[in-house]
Amino acid sequence: MKIPVSWLREFVEIPENLSGREVSELLLSVGFEVEGVDTVGDVRGPLVVGRVKTIEELTDFKKPIRWCTVEVGAANGNDATPGIRGIVCGARNFSEGDLVVVALPGTTLPGDFTIATRETYGHISDGMICSVRELGIGDEHDGILILPAGSATPGDNAFPILGLGDEVLDISVTPDRGYALSMRGMAREAAIAQRVSFNDPGLVLADLPEAGGTVIPAASDDYQACDLLVLRTLGNYNPAAPTPDFIKARLAAVGVRSISLAVDLTNYVMFELGQPLHAFDADKITGTIRARWAKAGETLETLDGVKRDLTTEDLVIADDARVLSLAGVMGGAYSEISETTTRVVLEAAHFDPTVIAKMSRRHKLSSEASRRLERGVDRMLPPVASARFAQLLIEHGGATFEGTSSVEQAPDPIVISFDPNLPGQVAGHTYESATVEKILASLGCSVDTSKSPWSVRTPSWRPDLAAAIDLVEEVIRIDGYEKVPATLPTAPAGRGLTELQKLQRRAGLHLAGRGLVEVRNYPFVGVAEFDALGIPASDSRRHAVQLANALSDEQPLMRTTLLPGLTGALARNISRGFTDVALFEIASVSLLSADQSATGVTNPPRPSVLQRPSATDIEALEALLPEQPLHLGALLTGALKPAALGAKPTPASWSDAIDIALALGIELGVEIEVSAGEYAPWHPGRCAALSINGELIGYAGELAPKALENLGLPKRAVALELNLSALLAAANVVASAPAIWTFPVAKEDIALVVKADVAATDVLNVVREAAGELLEDIRLFDVYEGSQVAEGHKSLAFALRFRAQDRTLAADEVSAARQAGVDAAAKSFGASLR
């Protein structure tokens, strides 16, 4: 909301010496944030009114040029030609005798452009005749600004005439304070802030001449939606009457374009008082003007040229023949004020704010009128605002008053029962009863303090004040938030983070400690990404939650896997010149069950907010949502760690991807089982399925060559993705200390030859089981396939470490345990010692 300070000053006394910035601080003290202070037309220096005396056309140049003499007042001429200046001008839209604005030498125009006397086109140009654009007060291309004849005298200071130098505050008004979207509202706030009295222009009904003429009747079909409709009819309007400059200047300052006097006045009064007004060409009206609901199938072409289909939820203003406007939102093209309009009927009405809000939303149409009406406008204002309009149209447009018609349903006053101690209880601060009463009165409330609790009747211009808490907020706000002290409440003794929360942090720390870099990707994915990854058509990951209004048509889905985001981040890093990249992400994915739709349901539960929803309601709300477990994803290419000097870097391999998962499992006290897996986008021969107690939690290994090629990623990139929620749930929160046996260790290596398709981990498990409790540790340290073993076979080399709790092991004990392992492997897998 733009507020020209000069306009504000019309309704509230503000000390002359206060700058725009100081006025801003005043308003800030009562809670209005001023986002900026602009000065209208960044002009300094001698800018005066001139009258064009003579024009000489200079034709010797490429473009037409005029050499003019301009009367600029006795004080502003030069010595040779008292009261006259010679000026060269390139514009052609003015004539001898026109009143113009002259920038005398020494004037600085916007853009820090200072006018000086100079010789040009063979003449001394001693100033500049200005256009609106050059003065920085408009964008019109029409050339020189011409003032209405007789509106000023040559030599007059042009600043006040043009509204130049006025400071304009840009105030952000929160949606609950619709009353502040006017000079009237802001002036009241400025008065409250200064603790001075306020003469409310919203209470002054303009004196209108006696009515004389035919009045267009008013009607409302639904007093819930429109409880007041006032029409003022005016005749003999001169459609060519210009809008006075001060009104034009003020409208420009608040960001409204001048259209015609009648339209400009509707805007002017709206900004002044806050009441949206609509002027119709009265000659286009048939019968009664009526607020009513639209009928199905009706249409309306609005002022913006859009033909709109109406529904029975649209409130319209209509006459007996047609729909005239979308009530309170936008007028219709048919009945708009035109260059030939001579009779005007003005509509000023009060509407149900939610009706306006719904219409504005449904038609995606937000206007200055709808912005105010959907926030709530003073119910008592339409007669005042419409009279003010009529007064101005009579004064400036030569109109005559034909009469008023109106219909209304009187509103019930809002009376709030109010405990004066409540503001203090909410703020934690003491407010004297007298202070509370004074503040409420300054808002316009009538306060009856004779009984406790008080009875507070709220003013019609504050429809937002409906409950005691609303009054509490006003008392604390006007007294000043800065007066509220600071205390620290004592929470009950806490128990810190939950185990799951601690474990999740630990997982992140562990992975970063291993050299992985965390990323946080957007959760949006698309079918093309599933395709690139080679995820089969039937895969449940394609059954993804679908957005109604995705930012990108390519990514309308919510992720079911972290891999698309990770591959995107990896590609970005590679494109920036990094070859060794190890990324991880911990984030939730959304997994729909087979019977949940990707687009949700059609009739979602909407429990009442007037009480706690029932358990059934809560359950129904939860049932709307997909399962959203945390996943852990990692994607690696190149070396996980740079090599030492002189050594070769080791690129991350399929086994690193698996090891990251296993090591995280060890960190969290969970044994993750590994078996061969087959799952896109992993390489089918290099994919490990990861499980806990037989429950699948994810996959790790090398990505399929085709997927990497599709994504433009380096060959042999490896990845893992697992359900972190499942892993954390299985975590062993309280680790048990191991028995630390200190008797000497006995080390044995064995190499077992098995068929190539036997899983090493299965052999290891069998050997470990059979070797018994003396076996402290077993580790696979080499796999060999080649000429030394039979075709289709491989040799697995294990390092075994034996130790006893209570004695030094004898050689025969060790060899017996070792042999038991070998025998078991032979029995289970046909393994032979190499």
């Binding site: 938030y481 009950p492 970063a512 949700g600 429990p607």
Partner: protein, 369 residues
């Protein structure tokens, strides 16, 4: 070896005379000190203490002395050998020290070549700032509350007193699932976690809720359709706006330094009343840059305050919607944007840096912010 000889006069066994022994000792000591390496010293030791050394040879003569003379000669011999051995030990130690020092010099490397092998991992600052903030409040006794990112519209809007026609509830601001009527949205703030807390937790409630939220803004240097917030909620008996202010001041000091305070400015949020904007006193200039063109402040743009978030007293309507009696309980809530907080706290100038996953960005923060 000579046989004992009772009549033998020790004075006549010249090799045992004090003068001769002293000569042996001084010869040995000068040889010891002349030895310049442990190898040389080894040879000196053999020459002066070995079986063939003058002292050893002289020692053999003691046996031949009459008993009366043996004791005196033996004592003299012991002292002489002791002196030599002490000199040997001292020199050995000296030479070993020299040798060790030389070895260390020989083994020295260019320690500045030890670059490039450090661990390269890192945690995203949006993760770690959530943890840091949670820790501030956990220390006050709060619990860390979480909730789903795909959320029911009822929890995201209705229960928070955001009416069905509120402008935020349009597709211009909110991501809807399926259609605008599905009742499912991507949560636009972490406030539904507050509702979940009020529905599910026992009173009193002290929770801190960080998390990812969504609005339909295109990504640019200051906006992102996916961003993060942290919200705090307290519901207890007798909670006041002063409690809110004190909690915010404590939060500000924990994150930005001793003495930093917050400022509240009136605002509007449907779920709180009274509502306020929270400004943070500039932790860089502490306000000294205001009207001081000689010392401008980039962090607060010389305004002295930084816009930080929103807050207010929980609207009684929200308490009612979750079944909490507003006559008995009151509460406050506050919320801040974490991207914004990171940006001014760490001098991040472009929102996209937090989104794109460039390893340089995350690595710069290590394991914590």
């Amino acid at each position: 070896m000579s046989a004992p000889n009772k009549s033998f006069d020790p004075v006549e066994v010249t090799t045992l005379s004090p003068e001769v022994l002293a000569g042996f000792v001084s010869e040995a000591i000068s040889a010891i000190s002349a030895a310049n390496s442990l190898d040389e010293l080894k040879e000196v030791r053999l020459a002066h203490t070995g079986d063939r050394s003058p002292l050893s040879l002289a020692n053999r003569e003691i046996g031949a002395l009459p008993p009366a003379a043996k004791a005196e000669a033996g004592k003299r011999m012991g002292e002489s050998r002791g002196a030599v051995n002490a000199a040997l030990a001292a020199r050995t130690q000296e030479l070993e020290t020299l040798r060790d020092a030389a070895l260390l010099i020989e083994e020295s490397v260019d320690v500045t070549t030890a670059t490039g092998v450090r661990a390269q991992g890192g945690r995203h600052p949006l993760t770690t700032i959530q943890e840091q903030i949670a820790d501030v409040f956990v220390a006050l006794g709060y619990q860390l509350a979480e909730g789903p990112e795909i959320e029911s519209e009822w929890l995201n809007f209705d229960a928070l007193n955001i009416a069905p026609d509120h402008p935020a509830r349009t597709m211009q601001d909110t991501f809807f699932i399926g259609s605008e009527d599905s009742g499912i949205v991507l949560r636009t703030h972490t406030s539904p976690v507050q509702i979940r807390s009020m529905l599910n937790r026992e009173l009193p409630i002290y929770v801190i809720c960080p998390g990812r939220v969504f609005r339909t803004d295109e990504l640019d240097s200051t906006h992102s359709p996916v961003f993060h917030q942290v919200e705090g909620l307290v519901i207890d008996k007798g909670i006041t706006m002063a409690d809110l202010k004190g909690t915010l001041d404590h939060f500000a000091q924990s994150m930005f330094g001793e003495g930093i305070v917050t400022r509240l400015r009136p605002s509007y949020f449907p779920f709180t009343e009274p509502s306020a904007e929270v400004d943070l006193q500039c932790f860089v200039c502490r306000g000294t840059s205001v009207d001081n063109p000689d010392a401008p402040c980039r962090t607060c743009r010389s305004e002295g305050w930084i816009e930080w978030g929103g807050c207010g007293m929980v609207n009684p309507k929200v308490l009612v919607a979750t079944g909490i009696d507003p006559e008995i309980y009151s509460g406050f809530a506050f919320g801040m944007g974490l991207e914004r907080t990171l940006m001014f706290r760490h001098g991040i100038t472009d929102m996209r840096d937090m989104v794109e996953g460039d390893v340089r960005f995350t690595r710069a923060f290590g394991l914590g912010v």
